[in-house]
């Protein structure tokens, strides 16, 4: 079943993968998560649950967060089993 995909000159409503489709969503924040990496047990729960996928856990360095896109929802602070993350008000 052969299919020839031949794009045309017409503009089509086709979108492609893009980081930050809603802009720098970090500006939405009212609070920001602050991590105490010394308490972190590298369980990965914060990375798994972050809805914007901005948390990365590495075995050596612990948790890092991309604050450009973090919306400040607080889920990471809530799921952390050792309370290594606190939400502090954004300046």
């Amino acid at each position: 079943m052969k299919v020839i995909v031949e794009p045309s000159k017409y503009r089509l409503p086709i979108a492609r993968p893009l980081v930050g489709v809603a802009g720098k969503t970090g500006t939405w924040r009212l609070e920001r998560p602050v991590v105490d990496n010394s308490r972190c047990t590298r369980c990965y729960l914060c990375e798994i649950h972050c809805p914007v996928n901005v948390i990365r856990v590495e075995p050596d360095t612990g948790v890092s967060i991309d604050y450009d896109y973090c919306k400040g929802c607080g889920l990471c602070a809530d799921v952390c089993p050792v309370l290594a993350i606190r939400m502090v008000p954004e300046e």
Partner: protein, 395 residues
Amino acid sequence: MGLKLVLTGNYALAYAAKVARVNVVAAYPITPQTSVVEKLAEFIEEGELDAVMIRVESEHSALAACFGAALAGARVFTATSSQGLLYMHEVVHWASRARAPMVMGIVTRTIGPPWNIWPDHTDYMDQRDTGWVMSFAMDNQEAFDLTLQAFKVSEDPRVYLPVMVGIEGFILGHTSMPVEVPEQKLVDEWLGPRRQPYVVDGSEHLAIGNLASPEDTEEFFMDIQNAMEQARKVVVEVEEEYSKITGRPFKGPVECFKCEDAKYVAISMGAWSGDLMESILQLRDEGYSVGLLRIRYYRPFPGDYIFEKANSTKGVVVFDRAVSFGSYGPIFLDTAASFLKHARKTPYIKNVVAGIGGVNITSDDFSRILKRFVHEVESDDVNVFEWYHKGKVVK
């Protein structure tokens, strides 16, 4: 040359889908289209057509499933009528705005209530704003030819729009006529493999239909209008090629029947054009100078051609088998607008709406209407809109 068969209009649609080698058929039965679906099911289960049939639970799902399959790279076909066509109307728009090439047969039937299974063009005309290329057949050979050509038109990169082919329910749908089906090898060479502007099959990451700004949206739709303009020459090219390889006579988006020297011209579309032609031959014998412009492609509307052929006549009468309540018949509206595009002064253009709800219009009716029109023009007293019912005129 090919196979000479005796087929009903519905079977002609099914045979066209078969030789076009469709891969997916998703359809729901409705009178008078049902035998299209049944014939295709037979082809598939007998192994004559290598396709999947999705026996959907509604027409809305029928076109939706066709849409999904088309996006994933399949050549698809479906058919419907009346209420079913209305039920899938949302998806009709979706398919053209997503630029998904596909072909659909419309076995026309009026719309209820009251329940009525007989043909007019109301359901077909209800789709005229959707951005589908639209053609209409006069006999079963044409039903077959237009449908087969529809695949090539739809998958042309200059068009990339879905195409619908209309035939009158029962009059063509259930009536047997000789149809020549070209050799499969010939069709394979001419039609070729499926072509589409993008495919959703995991080979790349794309999202079709994300939210878009007003400006971007307008640009997408302007491009649909552009594609329609391109379709004008594509439908001619496709038919020329097809005529060459099958020996079928070339007719074009509008068939000129005795229109070259006619002082009065009628415009019509569909099976009743045959009765109209009979009436014209009869009237010519009686000394009337009448001719016919028969519309084969309704969208894009061949207004320029019609204007060119009819502007020098004394009068044009447009027969519509549908009406836009509160206004006029759709073909009349398109015709009048096309004339205004070119000229300030036009010949008399009259609209006769008839045959609604499946009422049968004979060549005698047409003769009566045409004679009266000629008389009206000559007395300079033309009634622009008329609904012809039971032999009488209702203004």
